[in-house]
């Protein structure tokens, strides 16, 4: 007799299976016969692996995300921490940041092509843009939320300004920064799909466009979507595990 705990853990899987069956059924009944069912999609994945494209495309997309994301982090975080610290800097720059932020990275495509031409650099630029503004706002907000107690204690113990930054400011903002980085990484992963539509010739986003254009291979389209979903989930889980580190946990428990 299976125990209750096992049943509970199986429930979500049962739900997924039920959805898959529903999907297969709907695909079979669809009039155009173009929409693939889960079985065809799985076949698409196998197809990709067999052609050696699976790894190549995944790596290409990850490569662009990593570069855009890291560039944005390296620039936005120090900038944001500084702007957040100096009240007047925040007053001055906030309106500009707030106007740039709602502009979708895709709206930058013409400018990206103008500046970087067609190819990897453009798509990395778009990913960079999509990460830069959220990260700078996260950093500004993180600094502003440091309790004054910590800074005063640091000054009390005679810390030099450099030491104050390194030994008080930086550890105090770290939990919030990591959450911001996790969320932004998720955004980057979403944008890479769009960014790859600027005529690069590898990657999961490219695959989606190309598979459709070159032969209505919707099985590959759905396969690509599934892979995107899984990798996005793994990236998120990976970042969450960082938040579990003992010296950071304090930043997440009180709410």
């Amino acid at each position: 007799m299976p125990d209750n705990g096992l049943l509970i853990r199986l429930r979500p899987i049962a739900f997924i299976v039920a959805l898959l069956i529903l999907w297969q059924f709907a695909a079979g009944r669809s009039s155009t016969h173009l929409l693939p069912g889960p079985w065809e999609a799985a076949g698409g994945i196998v197809d990709l692996v067999r052609h050696g494209l699976f790894l190549k495309y995944v790596v290409a997309s990850l490569f662009r995300v990593t570069w855009g994301f890291l560039l944005a982090a390296v620039l936005a975080i120090p900038l944001g921490l500084t702007i957040g610290w100096y009240r007047r800097a925040e007053m001055a720059l906030n309106p500009l940041i707030q106007i740039f932020r709602p502009i979708s990275p895709l709206a930058w495509i013409p400018i990206a092509i103008l500046w970087f031409g067609v190819g990897d650099a453009s798509s990395i630029f778009l990913i960079f843009l999509s990460c830069f503004f959220p990260l700078i706002l996260t950093a500004i907000n993180a600094v502003q939320r440091i309790p004054a107690v910590y800074v005063n204690a640091g000054r009390n113990f005679g810390l030099s300004p450099a030491n104050l930054v390194w030994r008080v400011l930086y550890p105090a903002v770290l939990p919030q920064l990591i959450t911001g980085l996790r969320i932004t990484l998720g955004v980057a992963w979403i944008v890479v799909v769009a960014a790859e539509m600027i005529a690069v010739n590898s990657g999961l986003g490219f695959l989606i466009v190309d598979a459709r254009n070159a032969g209505n291979r919707y099985d590959l389209v759905v396969a690509a979507m599934a892979i995107i979903g899984v990798i996005g989930l793994l990236l998120d889980l990976g970042m969450r595990s960082l938040e579990g580190a003992k010296s950071l946990r304090w930043g997440y428990s009180e709410d």
Binding site: R88, M91, I103, S104, I190, V193, I231
Partner: protein, 260 residues
């Protein structure tokens, strides 16, 4: 916590104006010195905006974009809020549904485009569908955590006063979760606005997003491209500010006491 003492009131206006003026100057002179033939200077953008306004194109496209966002976001809210509240209220349901959501969430709406076009064809419905998809998940997530974060003492007090489960949900849980739901709605609206641009670039032939691509393709009118980008930025900002204002209403303001 930050470094300086209380700045004066007038400084709130002086600094941003100075910074923006500096930005415009830098922009203008970069264009002049690089002798670019294509990239527009600030004045060219302003003229482009005036041109669009005169032709009526600006207002028509703004209306189209706003309408699509309203429909997609509205649908996401109307479906997402009850859905999210249910998931938050019944952890068992959440446990079953959540893994599926976590897998669907990272899939960019852009990736859904071929499927959407297949299902709905090219046009407004596809655009609204994509916006709906993008706005849906943040709202659900915010509702789930809003309900989860209602302190147990509130629920206990409600039960103490003899409220039934539906009454509890309506009179205690929902108001208590409302600040967080509002934040989720605001973030979701921001995402909807971003995705609108993407959806319009591909699936329709009107709207601000469409204008960005069309201005380039039909004549390399980069002045119009940047003008469109500027409008996208400004309207997006205004939408966000409106939502923040909602957070000032007294019955929810308590949940935002931390916001600067």
């Amino acid at each position: 916590m930050n470094s300086l003492a209380e700045p004066r009131k007038w400084e709130r206006f002086v600094w941003p104006v100075l910074a923006s003026a500096l930005f415009l100057l830098l922009w203008h002179y970069s264009v002049v010195w690089s002798k670019t033939k294509v990239f527009p200077a600030p004045l060219a953008v302003e003229k482009g905006l005036a041109e669009l306004a005169r032709k009526g194109v600006l207002w028509a496209y703004m209306g189209d974009s706003l309408r699509r966002v309203a429909l997609g976001f509205g649908a996401a809210a109307v479906i997402g809020i009850p859905f999210g509240l249910t998931l938050g209220w019944y952890p068992a349901v959440n446990q079953v549904v959540n893994p599926v959501m976590q897998m669907l969430r990272p899939i960019s709406p852009i990736a859904w485009i071929p499927v959407a076009i297949l299902l709905f064809g090219v046009g407004n419905v596809t655009a609204v569908f994509l916006i709906f998809l993008a706005a849906f998940f943040p709202i659900v997530v915010a509702c789930i955590s809003g309900v989860a974060n209602v302190p147990a003492i509130y629920r206990r007090a409600g039960r103490n006063f003899g409220l039934t489960a539906p009454q509890l949900l309506a009179r205690v849980v929902f108001p208590a979760a409302l600040p967080q739901i509002l934040v989720g709605l605001r973030i979701s609206l921001g995402i909807a606005w971003l995705v609108m641009v993407a959806a319009e670039m591909i699936a329709v032939d009107s709207g601000l997003g469409y204008l960005v691509i069309d201005a380039r393709n039909s004549g390399k009118r980069y002045d119009l491209v940047v003008a469109a980008m500027l409008m996208i930025g400004i309207i997006g900002l205004l939408l966000d500010l409106c939502f923040r204002r909602l957070g000032n209403i007294k019955s929810v303001r308590w949940g935002f006491r931390d916001e600067s």
